[in-house]
Symmetry: C3
Subunit: 355 residues, 3 copies
């Protein structure tokens, strides 16, 4: 629920941890330099941190962006008691933990401070809001919580520790894996199977029938889509996104995939593990995306295109041809990145005044 | 509802049909070759089908794609008892029904097997979940079903056979035509009129006021949008899509249109009959789309642009100029397809190393 | 609610006003020409207006488009009793009010006719539907109305005059400013602060945690997003749009911003005042948009890009570099508009047959 009667693990764990500098270094796998007894109780923005907070500066680490002037100013002026940095020069003599990837270190530390990983073993009987409509033929595991105005269909299974916030629909026969959390307005059509420890944000829809039609001379005849949706473990899906049911076989989203808001995954798609789909990405029907591929915001992929493992697709690219493993493509229509850069250089020249 | 207490026609009819090969041929308008007494009880994917299943192979038919190696392998290895094909060579001597369009034939047969067209005449009094809030001044026809947590406003009309799954909002004065089905989370603002046999998937919103503003020197003044939305018969709209209310006159979606997920139709648009809008298409204000036009995924259309009947707009195209009847356009900004291809050929050359 | 038991101000005020031509002129700040005693009771489309209606013709005014033939025909044939025009020739000798911006004048007049600005002082105790789940520790101001199936969390504040239609979720500790209206299906996660007189349309989601992850070698580790969302006064957000929570500090949407449907605003973005985001715009993380900037439909903006005050971004543009104040950009990737036009002219030439 949104109500604090059903707190998130994060809320439970907040303010509990108090770490020394050495404990911080151990947690993030870094090396402590300087005196930092702490206790440190939080990780905050450079501009807001105080003597009992840790802060981080990501320039120089993995995934870093060139620092802006204001970031350097904030680094110089911060009152943080401990810094996570990849370059000792950034610490300027202040106590710091040296790590390869300050952003990752910050993520780990922040998760510790907010208790994100402290999921207690679910125990006790399910708690079901009296307003919820739960089929007597549904199965609810230990520690399950069902919020107001939910509907859980016949034969549905909510494994231990599942949390349904208010106004969630779980269709007949749907399986929701242990520890998964469904936010308000989520709809799971029948024939969806969701893994463990998944998070579905508000108004996500899984399993609506795919967009398959045949023109019969008078109208578009909808092709029944009975394949459902199969989602792996540890998948996180942003607000308002949709994953459509496959025709004969399930549309698949592999373990550890992360989808941002307002993404559409069409019917019969197959996403491998740890795929990243940024905001408003759209996959047509039967698209295959290999492990660890990353698609930038608003990218689109045509029917049955295959994107290899580890490939990268630039924001707003339109991919109509297969992308090889590890390949990088950009543009609409998308081409390999080296070609794209040459084309753009030529285009820019064409845009000059005197050309 | 999602609960099986409110089954779809499909669920009711499933497993009922058992057809001989001759009956299959008659149903799909094809010619049976070989011995195929059946009984055939389902249509399945080539890889999953058994002796009592029909399967289809679409290469060579209308709308066909070039077959992939894996598709040909599946065709060779299938255990299906009967094949729907457009080319007798694909059957390889096995029993088959020869049809012009195997995909269409498969759609017809699958709809028969799942009972998709077997909508019984609605009878009996409306069934309204006790939690639903239905105005005493709403009219509910025979066989109407209203799920949990619905709200139906004053003067709303739910014609015979309408099904509201749980958590559907039907505004004051709204008309929902006979046999239409609204999935969880659908919102119809007041001043919407929906035709017969429509399907609105989860979280569709019809009739939110259009994005019309006038800058008054200090703020954007919203222009009241009182035109509502008018949707024809047999329209199907995918999850999360929105159709905004017109300013003075209704935004119109014609008979038989099909809209995929996360589509936006702006205020004052007028869609003809059987228009196809693929996923994440966006139409600005006052766009007109002629009968049978098809817009690919993520295509966008600017204010008041006219797209002629039968026109085709490529995925991700940005259409700022009118498209003639039957025309095909691509690109951002969109140009006619022949021009687009020449431009792309030149651009590809520009992307070469030695150029 | 959608039910007329909770009418909008518009509905209340409709049909109340009856103005003379002189009163119309005074209201819109124009000059009356001709005899027009009225009474005028409504503003309607040129084609539908009668002797007691006002109509407008926008060609020649601010934001005008070149008139189409059908518009000129409608102007010639209209039976409207009074016209709002910027060019006296458009009136053709008929009674008219001359204004600089007929569209703005029409907006003002229409808002008057429908009573859009007549928000009465909220009084009386809150009215809460008996089905709603409202924490006893929430605060509800005078005249607040809470519809069926809403959930209001602990410590939430609904200031005077707030209206929650049915099925709205207001998270723990959220503040909703006076006079704001939340349509069905809206979800406010905890840590959202919404200003006064805001309108959130159906299925808007504010405050879902931003898309921040760090790869730890085995999985994408979600970075807790505790910054929440801060929305100013008079903000209007279209159906299905999402604004994600910031990491440490709030994602900000300034006073008077207007967002169309299915827009995504990523975490840590900062929008100034009166920003316009058209349909399906997507902003990645940490984007800054200055006062009064306008982004066309389906435009996308990359991480941490800055768009200056008053800038204009064309529809479907992909903005990866900062845009200066007052600048105009177009294209994917976006370049300044003059460059874009030259590039397009060259491209068109490349698309010619004989080139």
């Amino acid at each position: 629920m949104n109500d604090s009667s059903m707190p998130s693990p994060a809320a439970d764990g907040a303010a509990a941890a108090a770490l020394s500098g050495a404990e911080v270094a151990a947690l993030v796998g870094g090396v402590l330099h300087g005196e930092a007894p702490g206790p440190f109780r939080d990780l905050r923005d450079l501009r807001d941190a105080g003597p009992h907070d840790v802060a981080f500066f990501a320039a120089g680490g993995v995934g870093a962006r060139p620092p802006r002037r204001e970031d350097l100013d904030a680094l110089a002026a911060t009152r943080a008691g401990l810094l996570l940095v990849a370059d000792p020069q950034h610490a300027g003599g202040r106590p710091h933990v040296l790590v390869a990837d300050p952003h990752l270190a910050a993520a780990r530390l922040l998760r510790r401070f907010v208790g994100a990983d402290a999921a207690p073993e679910p125990t006790g009987p399910p708690e079901v809001d009296p307003s919820a409509v739960v089929s007597p033929e549904a199965e609810l595991g230990a520690g399950v919580r069902v919020g107001p105005f939910c509907v859980v269909g016949r034969g549905a299974v909510l494994a231990p520790g599942v949390v349904l916030h208010e106004r969630v629909s779980v269709g007949a026969g749907v399986h929701v894996g242990a520890g998964s959390r469904l936010h308000p307005g989520v709809v799971l059509y029948p024939n969806v199977r969701l893994g463990e420890r998944c998070t579905l944000h508000a108004n996500v829809v899984l399993g609506a029938p795919g967009f398959g039609y045949a023109w019969d001379g008078a109208r578009h005849l909808h092709v029944p889509q009975r394949g459902g949706v199969l989602v792996g473990d540890g998948v996180e899906i942003g607000a308002g996104s949709t994953v459509d049911a496959g025709t004969f076989r399930p549309t698949e989203v592999g373990d550890g995939c992360i989808l941002d808001d307002l993404v559409q995954v069409g019917h019969n798609c197959r996403l491998g593990r740890h795929v990243v789909l940024c905001g408003q990405v759209g996959l047509a029907g039967g698209v295959e995306v290999g492990d660890g591929a990353v698609l930038g915001g608003q990218a689109g992929v045509g029917n049955r295109v295959r994107i290899g493992p580890g490939a990268r697709v630039a924001g707003q690219a339109a991919v109509f041809r297969d992308v090889p493993p590890g390949g990088t493509v950009a543009g609409s229509p998308a081409v390999d990145y080296a070609t794209y850069r040459r084309m753009q250089a030529r285009l820019r020249r064409m845009g000059r005044h005197d050309d």
